[in-house]
Amino acid sequence: MSQSIATVASERGFARQPRIDGRGLALAGAYLVLYVVLDWLSFIQPVLKLGITPWNPNTGLMLAFLLVYGPRWAPVTALGVLAAEVLIRGTPAGWLVLICASAAIACGYAALATLLRRWGVPKLIESTAGAARLVVAVAVTTLVVATSYVLLFMAAGALPVEAVGGSIARYWVGDFNGILTFTPLLLLVGRWRELRQVLRNRLGLIALQFAAVALTMWLIFGLAPNDELRLFYPLFLPVIWVTLQWGVPGAMLSTLAVQIGLVIAVQNQPGAPPLVDLQFLLLTLILTALLLGAVVTERANALERVAMREAEQRVLLATAPDAVLTVHPSGEIRSANPAAHGLFGPLASATGSRTLRTILPAIRLDRESGRATLEGRRCDGATFPAEIAWARLTAPTNDDYLVIVRDVSQRQRAENRLREREMALSRAMRFAVAGELASALAHELNQPITALVSYLQAAEILAAPLASQDQRLQGTLGKATHEAIRASEVLRRLRDFYRGGAVKRERLELNLFCATFTATFQERLRRAGAELLVDIPEALPRIEADATQLEIVLHNLLSNAIDAVSQQPPASRHIVLSGGHGAGGVTLRVEDSGPGIAADVAAKLFEPFVTSKVDGMGLGLAISRSLLRGQGGELSYEPSVASGGACFIVRIPLHPVPATDA
């Protein structure tokens, strides 16, 4: 609670920048009035009627004002000091001294405010180190200010030299106590509502604590009015109680109460010791309370952080999809999260808890931390592939291991499926390439063989008249013809072998098919910086086709599209895969925003060995068309109207006809 109050005060106060406008003037006026009133109220036991008093809450107000609104308001504070001096004490030392003193005070506290703002004040008092720094900074600054003030008045002749030491001490303790009791409290004013809430909730306790402070005060000043110094120490008890309960704010409030009580007591009791003596005693009380409050607040904050961390970790463990175990070096399972129970089955039973060895037989916790892929064993004896990571906890009293186990069987299955699918695809692709090569080769070679056979047969006719000279000529030409025909037969068989690959027909839902298929392309698309839009209506009729062959076709088309758009600037790399259906068939269109295909290339696009790629074989489109025709479908090209690039259209018949031998 104390932490949040202080933090929000800082956020509210320091974020505001001073402005010289209507609001700024109102603020300055309010400050001046408050400052003068406070100075007037605390004008107690001065030295020679000067502003050298043993308690200066107005200084606390000044510092708080400078801290909240910034050191740029230092002129206003100087004006405040001057106004208070003049209104309350007149001008015993002359205007010049007063002005110089006001300026010195304002400068000193503006410097302190600058320093504290840099350190971050409200945060500062929440740690013991910070509180100590605050105390030292305030002590040094107030000492400098007190010395300057007193010396100025001495130089002006308003103060005898022998009174300098006592005056500095009096002024210093007044400012110091004024700042420490008042400034931190004023910084909390921004969180007034929070404070009121706390007050309302714990009203009984607070009243009790207030009563305790008041009672102690009464005991000291009421029972032994002239002997307060001896009985001063019991005051520590209620202040410490309050401080332990409320941290820094409690410390500040209780010491302020004591301070006010002290002032009232001293004012109303003629025989009381001088306030300055009491102020030095109070100084110890304030310092003790402040440092103790810082410790309490620090501890409360630490506990809150720990509780927060623990809550986070509880949620983390409960919701983690992976099994998380803590394991003693002996292998005993100390704790397990819900995912671990889900993965391995109940880990603890009436016969004792299971050890790590029973669920991860192959594990060796031989290092401080490590990773491994092992076999996990469920309670029913079933095994699964598990990815584990472990690390030794680094807490001083605990050398348990933290072991995280992930069931990767799903992933492995998916990976295997993907790999098998890729292998099938690449096998089919190789077969298709070989088939297309064989077909192209057979066609190209068959032409010269045809000419050769005809030439040889012509030669036989031409050689007929010479048969009488040498019988072997006719026979040789005949054999040559026979061999040429045999070569042609070999080519035919080669071609038939690859063409003979039977078409496997299966029912396909294009929607699903394209989704699965394009998923395998995401990585390539990402690398090429290309965007693929898949637009396959769900209402497309189902087709009967060879999925692998169709995948080869789409693979070729999509690969080509990615190559094509890669030549474009990154912002215009779009590919669209869309579907539709018309009379007797379904069409898939692959459109890209690439440079398109030159008309002369487009004319013979589907012939083997035609390519516009540097490293292309020129078989992809030829194969794709052959495969589609083998299924009674067709592949065609047209320039894309929508994207300006190429558009390839795949047609697949709804009712497959017997394959045409293209």
């Binding site: 068959n446 010269p448 063989i449 045809t450 005809s454 030439y455 012509a458 006719i461 025909i485 031998d661």
Partner: protein
């Protein structure tokens, strides 16, 4: 009317050369064209014989050439040369009225048989056309009266009935019939009826 010729269309120069040599050695005249387009450009209606065309050619495909000929009402018999396995295209060519198809490489005896058959088809067609033209010419020589007599005879009427129908004497019918038979160069009544039908 020119001599029967084998018009060979193939984009492959070696095949053109080899096949034309072989065909000419087998005693048939040949004319070669490197593309379907050049054949269509030079085609003349008085060409006799047959067309031997490759199917896979850059530019106009063999089947397209065949379709173009049908469109121009050129009835020259077409024999297509196919690469092996191209059964589907061969089937399409036959459906479109091709006389026959040959698979590369071609055996010379088969080649010549097929070509001679095609040429015979062409000759037969021209003979029929010529005969039909001749008959028509002879019929055109008949007078309207002679024509009437011919038609009635073809219907199977007797001389007397014809005379009654035409309101002439049976004797005059005899005269018309004799004159008609002389003009048509026919000797028997059966031949007369065949012409008149």
């Amino acid at each position: 009317m020119s001599d029967p010729t084998v018009f060979l269309v193939d984009d492959d120069a070696a095949i053109r050369d080899a096949l034309s040599l072989l065909i000419s050695l087998k005693g048939l005249r040949t004319a070669v064209f490197a593309s379907a387009e050049s054949f269509l450009e030079t085609y003349s209606p008085d060409w006799r014989g047959c067309l031997l065309t490759d199917l896979q050619m850059p530019g106009m495909h063999g089947l397209e050439l065949q379709a173009a000929l049908v469109q121009r009402q050129v009835e020259l018999p077409v024999v297509v040369l196919t690469a092996y396995g191209d059964v589907a295209t061969a089937r399409a060519a036959l459906k479109n009225g091709a006389a026959d198809f040959l698979e590369k490489p071609v055996d010379d005896d088969v080649l010549i048989d097929v070509l001679r058959n095609a040429i015979r088809l062409d000759e037969e067609r021209h003979r029929v056309i010529a005969e039909r033209t001749d008959t028509q010419e002879r019929l055109n020589r008949l007078t309207p009266r002679e024509r009437e007599v011919l038609n009635l005879l073809a219907e199977g009427l007797q001389h007397r009935d014809i005379a009654e129908r035409l309101q002439i004497s049976p004797r005059t019918v005899e005269v018309y019939k004799a004159r008609m038979m002389e003009k048509l160069h026919v000797r028997s009544l059966a031949e007369v009826i065949r012409l008149g039908a």
